[in-house]
Symmetry: C3
Subunit: 443 residues, 3 copies
């Protein structure tokens, strides 16, 4: 409650202050803080350090190509494109807010990834011998993942919050994310390669909670801002396609070397293909005269990638991936048709980009699919070594069995939901000024 | 003839049915069929299976980096971008059809790749021990290739067919493609790394045949739909550039590991560079006042990539690649200036995107260049092992010599042409309704 | 002086000739010359040659994955996207020149990379045993780098020169670049992985010199051409983002295998993130009502990538990268606010895209940062082998020490500045006709 209170105060204070002073101040001060914290804590890991040559000899690594960089860098670049072009352009559909959407997305992602390197580093890659965080290519991918959670949340409040509020949202969001991720992956020992639970479920409910806090009944009067024009819809399609195409890289970016990355990419590729067909089917069925709705094509076609995130590295089987994609295309499109208007009218939750349909529901489905797939794993399907590698049955968890792992997966989903919904208390902040200043930022 | 008949009937039936019912029905039923067929037939191959660890030990593979995933995944992602953003945005130039072009491209590619995995799997990667198709990263690349053939065909009839007709076209196209590819690569034993013959020649003539069937003399009255506006032309340039930049990945995606992929990328890079200069030259020469025509810049600059497809993995030599690019830029641009109007007026073939100039002619040239390059291969240039690896002179073909391989390449080209033109009989379907429903789909 | 003279004459001659004849003639003749020169000089290197199999056995290389192609091809494709989409779309902001910017960028890059392969080949990869240049994936990356220098120069004179003049500028620019690069890297023995000095400092001053030559006092009357519209600014953001996202690939593309590439990517990633925050801060601080200026967001956010280019492969440390990014965001944005108007008014230098703020100043800073970082290198931080590998203390330079290397780095920066400014004499060419023909090229 305390932190919520302070968040409200911060929001209020920002609005009453001239944006001319507060935005530069926040950017400069926070960036300076980052430099100091990086100076104290962050160093290169052994694969990015010039001692790598000696490390190779000591550990009998035969070649430079064994450096993790070559396993993961192509996936990292694809994920990077998803964060900045994918999420950025997906939100350009508002005719008076295309540039603002891309620009603010850019700003909060650039800040968020620095803070994420620190927060995730403290939890996951702190070297206790010297108290430093050691970063490498996997840290950069994880930082981008963490930022994705905050960008999803931004989708709920698009055009309603100022740049400073967004930065505050990101600071809180990344912090929450790192704690939640640590609990789900390390304490609960759930697996979540593509982040159905960790990223999408958490990010979507975090955003919806904030949107509920910031509910403004007189939003309708600014409807003129929320229409789309033809070209802004084509721009949004650039975002959709780059997300759709590179999703196999996202789900396979941090899975196990070898078959793990290979299988995750195949499963995601298939799930997304199936989603496109069912999205088109439902969109055509529920619109008058069988016309397709651009919003559905732009968003629901991605639901399969979200839902296959947790199970992508498991033996979901190709037909299993298609089934997941099939269902999510239907559920997500129906969400746009029925659920979004319902939520706005009765629950006072305005969901600008429909993140409940694209991230929240498919994320929860992804968590459930992951739990079922894990629980039904057998040694004959995975092999003895394969089972240990895939589910990480090592060290403290070397006595784990698949059926119990299924329970842990379900527990992980609950943790993600709880963290996402923890910022729930109503604040009813009048965001009118913030809203307008935001639109004026880019004239 | 029977299949053509049924295709016409299908087209007619679709038009007379309300699109509100037919499009959802086709999408749901076909996707369900895919799930069932995938359940029966498709499994992961040994490199995407958790038994990979054991497979590595058994086959004495030293490291996870030897997994084919790391050889081909970056190329796969580039090809994926070409299919969805490249082909999709290349067709956005029509001012009232930008979104439709991208959206329908998305739909048929998502369906086509699933059907291609099955069709190509039955022909190429069926495991006779258990009757299953084993898929991996190379299967995904091949499925994307197969889809490319159908998207090329779509270019000929852009804006003239409905979504359901496009899906039918894709179903037929992928089936034909898989048979044609099997005959060319396995029966005739031609090599075709970048698909000059298999993809481009076949796809273009398949599309032109359909366009001829669907000829509508009163197309002129809807000319207003076919103009371009400034911004839709800039959107189209996004498609052009992503195709142009990633073409080296397309031509090298499934060539031999090591020098094969390396050489294919270099040859394609050079051929495309040369094409740009001759395209600009011819475009400037034949337009009044030396102005450049945007259509030429958007399309003909890509002809070199098509034409170097077959020979890219051979010892074409850097200057050879430049010569191929040089000639194709000229021929393709002249095609836009003279041949497209001629074909529409005298042959009753409307070629909306000019695929005859971009894919058909350069594809045929590519087949011929491939035959000549193969026929002139010598042991001194390739080395003994290099010759065997490059032309796959193994098993049934271990007694093959380069000069005979040249003949087989030429035979492969003939097969591609025959398959492309096999759907030739005139149908004269009145497509007016389909045409309008198509444009109304996205309001 | 002679070459400058001939450049002026060429510019004059072009203007007086009908563009209808000169552009096609230049394209065809130059491309033919390229084919002949490639035929005489260019061959595949041993990693792209079919003898690679034998080369592997001879050199005891265990696997195809050791082919340099797999180390560098993903980075090459990212750099390729930066050249064609990044630079191309970054210049689309002019409302009447979007297509022209992308199209001309395409043309000169396609020519420049061929000439760069020859020029850089003669200096760097000439095989003295047979007098041939041996090319591979690293040659393609270097050719793209060289082209980048010329595209930066194009930014200064955007919309003021004709296509033929641009080609002449590129021919001269690539030639100068290759000489300058040879002197800096091989004679002076400075290291410059991301090209802060070699590419950015040289390219920017080369462009500004030309802009000074071509100064036209009555440019104001064509102000209407230089405004931006909303959608052309969103297009420009596509260029910005693809440059920003793929900059880590550019700076790491030709660094040492293993830790070198890994470290360069991390440093660039961090520097760019910091730049975004300070750019937003300064932009918001200096614009009235705290509004952000789109030009700053589009350009200054990239300054960190330029400035970290030289030192990216050194042990700059993560906080060092953040500090570099922090400073460059401030300096670059202040440059747009104060320096660009000053330069136009008092120095008669029109800088259309603000390349002095984006490339020149950050490039010089990058050179200085590189010199300091090199001079302060110690064996304890790098390790004995690491120091030798990172700074290439081998052969003629095996007795080099870090402090002297710092001096060599500073000398390299001076060379880059001298070469960039060597085309300085005033020409005062009336470019009005060229200017108008250029805008008319794309109607």
């Amino acid at each position: 409650m305390g932190c919520v209170q302070s968040f409200r105060e911060l929001c209020d204070r920002q609005k009453n202050t001239n944006v001319r002073k507060s935005l530069p101040a926040v950017c400069i001060v926070w960036q300076t803080a980052m430099i100091i914290l990086f100076g104290v804590f962050i160093r290169y890991n052994e694969e990015a350090d010039p001692h790598w040559v000696e490390h190779r000899h000591t550990n009998n690594i035969s070649s430079d190509i064994e450096n993790d960089f070559y396993y993961r860098y192509p996936s990292f670049q694809d994920v990077h494109v998803m964060i900045f072009v994918g999420f950025g352009f997906l939100m350009t559909f508002l005719k008076r807010y295309s540039f603002g959407a891309v620009g603010f997305n850019f700003l909060i992602a650039a800040f968020g990834l620095q803070w994420a390197l620190l927060m995730q580093g403290w939890f996951h890659s702190l070297d206790y011998t010297d108290g430093k965080i050691k970063i490498g290519v996997e840290s950069m991918i994880n930082a981008d993942f963490c930022v994705a959670g905050c960008l999803i949340a931004y989708g709920a409040v698009l055009g309603k919050v100022s740049a400073v509020q967004l930065l505050v949202m990101t600071l809180f969001g990344v912090t929450l994310f790192a704690v939640e991720e640590y609990i789900i992956l390390n304490v609960v020992h759930a697996r979540d390669a593509g982040g159905s639970m960790v990223i999408h479920t958490f990010g979507a409910y975090y955003g919806l909670s904030i949107s509920w806090m910031l509910y403004r009944p007189n939003l309708d009067q600014s409807d003129r801002l929320h229409g789309s024009v033809y070209h802004s819809d084509v721009f949004a399609m650039i975002g959709t396609l780059f997300l759709w195409m590179f999703w196999p890289s996202l789900n396979s970016a941090i899975t196990d070397h070898g078959d793990g990355q290979h299988r995750a990419a195949i499963n995601t590729y298939l799930a997304l293909a199936a989603t496109v067909l069912t999205t088109v089917a439902i969109s055509s069925l529920f619109q008058k005269h069988g016309k397709l709705d651009m919003v559905h094509i732009q968003n629901s076609t991605l639901a399969g990638g979200v839902a296959v995130g947790t199970a992508a590295e498991f033996m979901l089987m190709p037909y299993g991936a298609l089934i997941v994609g099939f269902c999510c295309g239907i559920i997500s499109t129906l969400g746009y048709v029925y659920l979004t208007p319902f939520m706005e009218k009765y629950l006072k939750i305005q969901d600008m980009c429909g993140i409940h349909n694209l991230h929240a529901m498919p994320g929860v489905i992804g968590g459930i699919v992951g739990a079922i797939t894990a629980a039904s794993a057998t040694e004959s399907v995975y092999g003895v070594e394969g089972l240990i590698n895939t589910f990480d049955f090592e060290k403290d968890f070397k006595d784990m069995v698949p059926s119990r792992q299924g329970g842990h997966q379900a527990a992980g989903l609950c943790v993600a939901l709880c963290f996402g919904l923890s910022l729930q208390p109503p604040l009813n902040v009048t965001t009118e000024k913030a809203h307008e200043s935001c639109f004026n930022v880019y004239s």
